[in-house]
């Protein structure tokens, strides 16, 4: 068991990398910008700053992520690697206004395949 936990601690603490970073602001229940373009096949670090006085929950089946965005805090969400395409996300508490998408673009392309 100790051996197993040692292996796990090593793996949990490793793998920290300099992922490309994208900052999104949540204000008045809107993600700004609502569309972001990122390179395909790479991990991306999304930094979401919730400037609203209420919590929000980032939700995306496409990106396989759910994360509570506490008011006044910077939340970090790691996504990808993604194949080229468009991936939608929304805020669970304000799904009509808090919407956005991540557009993954293959290296060398300006547009989604």
């Amino acid at each position: 068991m100790i051996k197993m936990l040692g292996v796990v601690l090593l793996l949990v603490s490793s793998g920290v990398f300099a992922a490309p970073e994208v900052v999104i602001t949540l204000k008045d229940h809107l993600f700004i910008p609502s569309k972001i373009q990122v390179p395909a096949d790479k991990k991306i670090k999304l930094v979401i700053i919730n400037q609203d006085p209420t919590p929000e929950e980032f939700d995306s089946f496409d990106l396989n992520r759910e994360k509570v965005l506490f008011p006044g805090r910077r939340s970090i969400i790691y996504i990808g690697p993604l194949k080229p395409g468009e991936y939608h996300f929304f805020g669970e508490f304000n799904p009509n206004s808090a919407q956005g998408s991540v557009i993954a673009v293959a290296e060398g392309n300006d547009h989604v395949d």
Binding site: M1, K3, V7, V8, K43, R65
Partner: protein
Amino acid sequence: MRKLLALLTLMYSSLSMADGIVVDKVYHPYILPNERKLEWRFMSRQSDNGNLLGQRLAYGQALGENLIMEGYLAFERDTSDDFGLAAYEVEVRWQLSEQGKNWADWGVLFEVEKQHQTEVWEANVGLLMEKEFYRSSLTVNLFTVYEFGSQIRDEFETELRAQYRYRLHPAFQPAIELYTGEDFIGIGPGLMGVHRYEGQKQLKYEIAFISGINGDTKDHTLRFALEWEF
């Protein structure tokens, strides 16, 4: 993928294997703050010896941003058709790493169970791992169980559970599940999904049909779970 298989082989080969049926649930390592849930699990095992039926009712609540506690009541019907409360259980699940940050995502589970009306206890430590491959995810649970009490011989056991899931649609995610223990190796298809309601409310379901592949006789298990998050 090779790295993952090598790691699992290394960890698994260093432990003894478990006895008994292990078809239950494959745990994911993720926790949501403010998460509260009610859960119902159903398991029916059909073998040449008859039918065993198990059901579990649970309530869970997040205790922090990375920690959730759940309490269970376990009911069983044995081959003599006696159905009733069989055990109580408390479980704590802890998310160890931020989803997507590292090579894989990690969590750990601690569980204590007492059999109803007998002095039989079980302490369980489980390692939870999930690795994402574009639209599919591989989840692996490795449990070490210690059974003790005045009415049982103290012993260690281990169990391995795995699930490979393709995220086709929120309500329709096909999977393959694998369960192993000393007396049982089973594999079979599964299906799971989620339906979202307003806010954090969502209903999740899981169903799987696991066939024993290591014995000469019939040994099938149907498992079903419903989870209401609110």
